[in-house]
C-alpha cells in the first residue's frame, strides 16, 4: 500500500465547493422545525436551511433576527438525512463557530438576519464547514469567494414572494461574467477597479468561462414557474425561503417546485406541476418596502 494512502484532508476547498456541486439542479428549502424539514425532504429537497423564522415573518415582526436556537438546529439535523444548512448573521463569526460545532453541513452568512458588522464579513477560510453567501453582482460574489465562500446565491429580495430582484441580480452577474470572458488582459484591471472585484478571480473566470463556485438563485421565488425562470437564466439551483411554508399547501407546492427545477425546460411538465397548488404567498412590491428595510442592501 502507498504510504500516503490513508492521509486524509478535511475542509479543503475542493471538499467545500464539492458539496455545493452535488446540490446542483436541486432545491434548498427554508424550514423552522423538524416537521417542515421532513416535508421538504419528502418533497425531494436536496438540502434544508434551518432558521428561526422564514424571511416573510422576519420582515413582518421586525426586531433583530439572529441565528436559530441550537436546539431547533439539532432537532432538524436529527430529523432528516439530507444536508442541513443554517444561517449566521453577517460578520458574526461566533454564531458561525456555534453552527460548525453543531455539525451543520453549510453555513449561510445571510442578509436575512440582522448584520452585526458593518465593515467585515466572516473570514470563512478559518472554518471547516463551507459557507454560502448572497451577492447582487459579480464583484460582491467574488469578494465573498475571496473571503472563503464555497457557494454563492443571488440575494434577490427575501420574504417578498417577488422574483424581480433575483432576476435583476442573476442578469447582472451573467452580463458581468460575459464581459469578463471577452475582456483581454489589458482590460481586466479596469473591471477589477469598477466592480471592486479581486483580480485573480476575474482572471480565473476569464480562463474557465464560469464562476469558480456554484451559484443558486434566492430571494422571492414563490412558484414553479419562478424556479424554472431562474434556472433558464442560468443559475445552478434554487433556494426557496418563505415561498413554500407561507403558501396554502406547502407539501404540494414543495414537490411542484422540485419538479419545475428539474424539468425547467419542459413547458408541459411546468404546466402540469403548476396546476391547483392553492394560494401562493402574498407578494410585496419592492417599491413598497421602506428605504433602509431592503435586506439585499445588507453586506457589501
Amino acid at each position: 500500500m502507498n504510504q500516503g494512502a490513508n492521509k486524509v484532508a478535511t475542509g479543503t476547498t475542493r471538499v467545500k465547493r464539492g458539496l455545493a456541486e452535488m446540490l446542483k439542479g436541486g432545491v434548498i428549502m427554508d424550514v423552522v422545525n423538524a416537521e417542515q424539514a421532513l416535508i421538504a425532504q419528502e418533497a425531494g429537497a436536496v438540502a434544508v436551511m434551518a432558521l428561526e423564522r422564514v424571511p416573510a415573518d422576519i420582515r413582518a415582526h421586525g426586531g433583530v433576527a439572529r441565528m436559530a436556537d441550537p436546539a431547533k438546529v439539532e432537532e432538524i439535523i436529527e430529523a432528516v438525512s439530507i444536508p442541513v444548512m443554517a444561517k449566521a448573521r453577517i460578520g458574526h463569526f461566533v454564531e458561525a463557530q456555534v453552527l460548525q460545532g453543531l455539525g451543520v453541513d453549510y453555513i449561510d452568512e445571510s442578509e436575512v438576519l440582522t448584520p452585526v458588522d458593518n465593515n467585515h464579513h466572516i473570514d470563512k477560510w478559518a472554518f471547516t464547514t463551507p459557507f454560502v453567501c448572497g451577492a447582487r453582482d459579480l464583484g460582491e460574489a467574488l469578494r465573498r469567494i475571496a473571503e472563503g465562500a464555497a457557494m454563492i446565491r443571488t440575494k434577490g429580495e427575501p420574504g417578498t414572494g417577488n422574483v424581480v430582484e433575483a432576476v435583476t441580480h442573476m442578469r447582472k452577474m451573467n452580463n458581468q461574467i460575459a464581459k469578463t470572458i471577452c475582456a483581454g488582459e489589458d482590460q481586466i484591471m479596469a473591471l477589477a477597479r469598477d466592480w471592486a472585484a479581486p483580480i485573480d478571480l476575474l482572471r480565473e473566470i476569464a480562463a474557465k468561462g464560469h464562476l469558480p463556485v456554484v451559484n443558486f438563485a434566492a430571494g422571492g421565488i414563490a412558484t414553479p414557474a419562478d424556479a424554472a425562470l431562474m434556472m433558464q437564466l442560468g443559475c445552478d439551483g434554487i433556494f426557496v425561503g418563505s415561498g413554500i411554508f407561507k403558501s396554502g399547501d406547502p407539501a404540494t407546492r414543495a414537490r411542484a417546485i422540485v419538479e419545475a427545477t428539474t424539468f425547467y425546460e419542459n413547458p408541459q411538465i411546468l404546466a402540469k406541476v403548476s396546476r391547483n397548488l392553492g394560494e401562493a404567498m402574498v407578494g410585496i412590491e419592492i417599491d413598497e418596502i421602506p428605504a433602509g428595510q431592503r435586506m439585499q442592501e445588507r453586506g457589501w
Binding site: A5, V8, T12, R14, G18, L23, K24, G44, T262
Partner: protein, 172 residues
C-alpha cells in the same frame, strides 16, 4: 470532462433521453431526491432493465447508492443491479468529508478521491469485485459492465474512471 475522456455527454431526465445513450453515469447528489424523481417519472424499471441487459453504468456516491440493492437505514427507491448493502453518510456530516489518495487495483499510480458525505459498502456479494478500499472498506467496486464508487471522480481532473466506462462500451 466526458468529452476529454473521448465521449459525447448528454443529460438523461426522461425515458426518451435514456433510449439514446450508450452508457450511463449516475452522478453524485442526494440519493433520496434522485430516487424520488426517477420513481415519479417512471424511470426505475427502464433503468434497471437497460442496465441488466448490458448498458455500461458508473454510479458515483449517490449513484452508487442508487445501483445498490439495499441501504442500512430507511427505504428509498433503488435499482438493485449490484447485490450490496450501502450505508448512507457513513463517514458522518460535511465536516468529516475529506479527500485522500487511493490505490486502485491494477493502476500504476493512486487516484485523488474526494469523499463528500459519502456512503460505504456494508455487505457485498462475492461476485462483485472490490477495486479499491479505504480503511478496509470497499469504495470502488465493479461487476461486468457496472462500476460504482463512494467518491466523486467528477470533482477531479483524473479521467481514468471515465475512460474505464468508455472502454466498457467498446467491450459490449
Amino acid at each position: 470532462m466526458i468529452q476529454a475522456a473521448g465521449a459525447e455527454p448528454t443529460e438523461v431526465r426522461t425515458r426518451t433521453d435514456l433510449e439514446s445513450v450508450e452508457a450511463l453515469i449516475i452522478p453524485g447528489g442526494e440519493s433520496t431526491t434522485i430516487g424520488r424523481l426517477a420513481d415519479l417519472y417512471d424511470l426505475i424499471e427502464p433503468l434497471r432493465s437497460r442496465i441488466e441487459s448490458g448498458l455500461p453504468a458508473l454510479g458515483t456516491c449517490a449513484g452508487m447508492i442508487f445501483l445498490a440493492s439495499a441501504v442500512t437505514e430507511g427505504t428509498q427507491p433503488l435499482l438493485g443491479v449490484l447485490d450490496m448493502v450501502v450505508e448512507r453518510n457513513a463517514f458522518g456530516r460535511q465536516n468529516e468529508s475529506f479527500e485522500c489518495r487511493l490505490d486502485v487495483q491494477g493502476w500504476d499510480s493512486p487516484l485523488q478521491a474526494v469523499f463528500i458525505r459519502a456512503p460505504l459498502v456494508d455487505e457485498i456479494s462475492p461476485d462483485i469485485e472490490v477495486l479499491a478500499r479505504h480503511n478496509g472498506r470497499p469504495v470502488l467496486v465493479g461487476k461486468e459492465h457496472i462500476l460504482a464508487c463512494a467518491f466523486h471522480p467528477e470533482l477531479t481532473d483524473d479521467l481514468r474512471l471515465h475512460k474505464m466506462l468508455i472502454n466498457l462500451i467498446q467491450e459490449q
